[in-house]
Symmetry: C2
Subunit: 744 residues, 2 copies
Amino acid sequence: MIFKNKELYNYMKCVFCLVGVLLSKSPKSSQGHHVSMSSIDGVKVCVCVCVFQSLDYDNSENQLFLEEERRMSFLGFKCLEISRWVICGLIGFLTGLIACCIDIAVENLAGLKYYVVKQNIEKFTEVGGLSISLILWAVLNSAFVMVGAVIVAFFEPGAAGSGIPQIKCYLNGVKIPRVVRLKTLVVKVCGVICSVAGGLAVGKEGPMIHSGAVVAAGVSQGRSTSLKKDFKIFEYFRRDTEKRDFVSAGAAAGVSAAFGAPVGGVLFSLEEGASFWNQMLTWRIFFASMISTFTLNFFLSIYNNKPGDLSSPGLINFGRFESDVSVCGLLGALFNTLNYWLTIFRIRYVHRPCLQVMEAMLVAAVTATVSFAMIYFSNDCQPLGPDQSEDYPLQLFCADGEYNSMATAFFNTPERSVRSLFHNPPGSYNPLTLSLFTLTYFFLACWTYGLTVSAGVFIPSLLIGAAWGRLFGILLAAITPNGSVWAVPGKYALMGAAAQLGGIVRMTLSLTVIMVEATGNVTYGLPIMLVLLTAKIVGDYFVEGLYDIHIKLQSVPFLHLEAPATSHWLTAREVMGAPVTCFNRIEKVGTIVDVLSNTSTNHNGFPVVVPVAICGLILRSQLIVLLKHKVFVELARSRLTQRKLQLKDFRDAYPRFPPIQSIHVSQDERECMMDLTEFMNPTPYTVPQETSLPRVFKLFRALGLRHLVVVDSENRVVGLVTRKDLARYHLGKHGLEEMQLAQT
Amino acid sequence: MIFKNKELYNYMKCVFCLVGVLLSKSPKSSQGHHVSMSSIDGVKVCVCVCVFQSLDYDNSENQLFLEEERRMSFLGFKCLEISRWVICGLIGFLTGLIACCIDIAVENLAGLKYYVVKQNIEKFTEVGGLSISLILWAVLNSAFVMVGAVIVAFFEPGAAGSGIPQIKCYLNGVKIPRVVRLKTLVVKVCGVICSVAGGLAVGKEGPMIHSGAVVAAGVSQGRSTSLKKDFKIFEYFRRDTEKRDFVSAGAAAGVSAAFGAPVGGVLFSLEEGASFWNQMLTWRIFFASMISTFTLNFFLSIYNNKPGDLSSPGLINFGRFESDVSVCGLLGALFNTLNYWLTIFRIRYVHRPCLQVMEAMLVAAVTATVSFAMIYFSNDCQPLGPDQSEDYPLQLFCADGEYNSMATAFFNTPERSVRSLFHNPPGSYNPLTLSLFTLTYFFLACWTYGLTVSAGVFIPSLLIGAAWGRLFGILLAAITPNGSVWAVPGKYALMGAAAQLGGIVRMTLSLTVIMVEATGNVTYGLPIMLVLLTAKIVGDYFVEGLYDIHIKLQSVPFLHLEAPATSHWLTAREVMGAPVTCFNRIEKVGTIVDVLSNTSTNHNGFPVVVPVAICGLILRSQLIVLLKHKVFVELARSRLTQRKLQLKDFRDAYPRFPPIQSIHVSQDERECMMDLTEFMNPTPYTVPQETSLPRVFKLFRALGLRHLVVVDSENRVVGLVTRKDLARYHLGKHGLEEMQLAQT
């Protein structure tokens, strides 16, 4: 069932091959030395099958496009601009609404669960037989998680995880199959509700970013292929350039809704996606973020019966801190390394949907059991505060008027636990409680990330960090003579949370802003930034960021922002792919069909030459549309009334152009000619062969290209640089390294 | 004295011509219709004299450069990266320190002044003869302003104004003469202290941005030409690319210090400067901003005897709002229009330094007189609060225990007045007081901006906006039946301030973030953004932003972020400059000297061809260094021991390359040949002639180019696109407009 989709099948196959190669080599050799082309010949067959399409961020400025643009009046452009703003507003609104639904659903489900379990525990604490409570808790958790895992594993595997790696890839310019579909969104939302309510060590923040992106992709296209509904609006935006811009806005709106951090959202989008700073686009992104936070706030304030009180933005906010320490990303690196091996294990052995569901249920049950055991054996009793700040205070074996401190950490949604760790007064936790909690939660979170459920890693990271940060603060207060000055464990918890999160995900700039916005206090900016930088530097020394690991494991041709520093000795000649399949300006249909059908090359862009000098570039998708509409020179002559092909025909086919196999071309038609002049991009970007790699990289990245033609001094095509040619160079510990990637 | 600098002289001459043309036409025709080339033939001679150099953001990747890069080890790049971070830290620290000095100096000087005047007023209120107080006040003001105006007018005219237009131009890629020199910084700092202490309607925030930029330019180059001191460090950074990056960081640090808004600073720099989003650069900019805020805070907290209390960042902070209205930018547009005509008047008539100083003193005296009159005739007495929140409460003719409300607005530094308007409880001001204050302050601020003193327009704009915003709030509360809900005039003051500032300067994104960070409350984000957007839209309908007006009046070839929407019908062929002066790969020295000496063309970049196809691009500055070192083929043969030219020689000459006239080339040498192969950039970016203007624009802007070669299908050079070719197209009210600009 899961393999009915061919792309996915190929993708899985490819990942298996790659992992096989990774596992067959000792980790030492794969990290330390140049991986040359020849040494991985065995995997080459495999990576050729694997198809990750790239996005075309560069407009194909062919005659049709230019004619349309020239026909359009000044007012027309104004209208387009206004619709862009309207779409961004809609994206923000819908994203905020989704966040609101998730929040309310999780609150209610988790509240119900904890209420039932608490009642049960209180009942059995006196009469004995707490094992029944344990079973109840474990069964409830597993049931929730089962639902979440089943829908993800059987209906839409693309909705697994936080979705942030996928969105990162999309914004980077790589099309991940099925990532921005409506079905993915629905499964994602239901899945995240189930997994958080099921008590897994996960957060609901990461999936918001994915949800925002899906909303954006859907709204901006004015149609849904899943629902087979076309509203016939926003047709102008049906191309990669515009769609990617809106998806950036959606991701930003997601961050904004998740953390109440509109500026952080904008920076996240820019950090991950935008290559060329576009001022109007950034404003629109910011607008979407603002609307999203505002919507979430507004509806939550109504839900909480305090309409108009907009002071607590975001799904999680850390509360306000009323006002240092340099900690490191070692734990983050450890987390990532463990998760790396776990992921490889999973890819190898746990790939059947049934197994995936069972693993998820197992984790849920283990989480409940471990939590219960920790609470059961803990003897850290704290007096109940006068304001009853705990949500579900478990008395258990404590004296009357006291509650079990371990339970505030375990018997709660992770968001609330984080807030308790930040804000509970000094002395609320024993050092022993905190150490045990950190240790167990660390392993639980590590095991949980990568399960086939929709879930984020932000909150668990924050929670682990907050726990050991607070522990550190308590210890520091104990050993310093003038303990009172340093005795603000909540601050250490915040710094620890920042360090842990930074060590795991490694997004410095946007993360700083997100943290600052979530704490609502700019004075923490500098320490948070220093902590994050330290965590990044220390973590990078050992292993990459979690998202990057997962991206790399999928062998996505991910382009970083700059070429490796020591790559000036490489030139376009060495980097480019050659020879290149070129077409003549007027080409035989048979030739075109043969080239497109050739699965061994599977190119997407073809330079057009006359007679040898380059005069244009045409895309596979354009050729397919031309073949489908049989735009042949001979037919045009015979049937004069034939409708001229419009830009609309290309837009209607976007984004799922049919494969070449589905287009029937008869033997007669194969002898016809096609005139590409009108449809090719007459001014593709070109570089000379001697151009250095950083220069090629800069041009490619700044303009979001998909194909860059390399020419010699007479403008003859000598090669083609694509994403995979650039993505395979990266800076390792010992200088430039080259690796093999999936074909673009 | 002022005209000893030739560039400045030319610049003034050019502006006069331009203004003459502007004034000779009726404003209607110059706004409403296409200004074609022919209609301004009269001014053409003039604009040819005017020289604004562009910055080269594109590295010239010649053989020397590539060799150096290839020689450099991985560790070398690490060291460079670390020094970049160190420099950014230094920039932040020094900028914060300067902000701190300015703040303390202004506080003390203004405090002294107000103390003296207050004593005097109190003395004469009883015995009569308040005119003596008036004279004292006016004389004190004029004296301060005179000092400020004299140093600016006579020593460094480049330090006049806020410096923000100049920094905008610099970040945009236009080299404004003398803008990042040490002397400018010193004059700027002293000037701003004097003008704020002198009671002008100005702020000290704008000049901080300029100061930060100068600090950055100085620190990053590791030498000062003014002090004739070369520390022999950071030599690698002596080129336009690196220097501009650091100047971005400096500007961000300036914003950050001025408003306590590090994120706002980063966004300001990105909005104005960065074209290509560079992640590492952005982190460094953010780091500089953080350090800057932190430094300012730290030293101010020590100064205020509260060391470690870092809760009030920035030179101005609005205080914290405890948690709508859509207002418009009409007043902003009016301000800009008035200031536009005033500036033209000033450029025409007030250009002698003596006159400028006298005008500044006149404004100072008038400001004092008007303020005094307003206070004198006001009868808005308010009871003194228990906590004595006013800094200099003037009793004047009020009853005991009361103070004059008008005086809180006028008898204070503008920063404090803004805060009073935001935070004083409802009822602190009469509507009449506010209207009178708004009206007079509006005209005073408008008159003041553009005086030959260093001063910013942020605070006066905020003050005007706050006053009428509060007025609006009071009126709204009066007319609504349930007045109490809306009766928070401070919020209206904030919105009014945002609207007024937005209407005047029109920086939406960074301004929103700055305002949000300065208020310290993210819930105001959405209303502030909406208000700013409205103000921008309304304001843009009437007239451009203040900074843009001033940039345009100086006829700077400023590139906006995108090509005008309706410019798809233009191609590179129509836009480019042709014919182009090309050199051969091995060229006669005489030819080169003749071309460089030709003042009528004055090109800066020359394509190198072999025999007709393009094979490189060489810059004027490079040729000058080659000529200076007499790198001739014949000499190399005869003197084999001659030192090979190094990249260091080019760096030492940077940024003030000698003019061609100062290089003596004998008649014999003129017959020698020069081999340009090693020094030219062998892979300049090229475009075909048919490329549309938006495509050319995008390439040019994204990569920060200075020259873009236009080639035909055989790679022959047919034209050269420079900044001025692109900057002359802009979108007017009725579609595309073309205008004549100064030659780049």
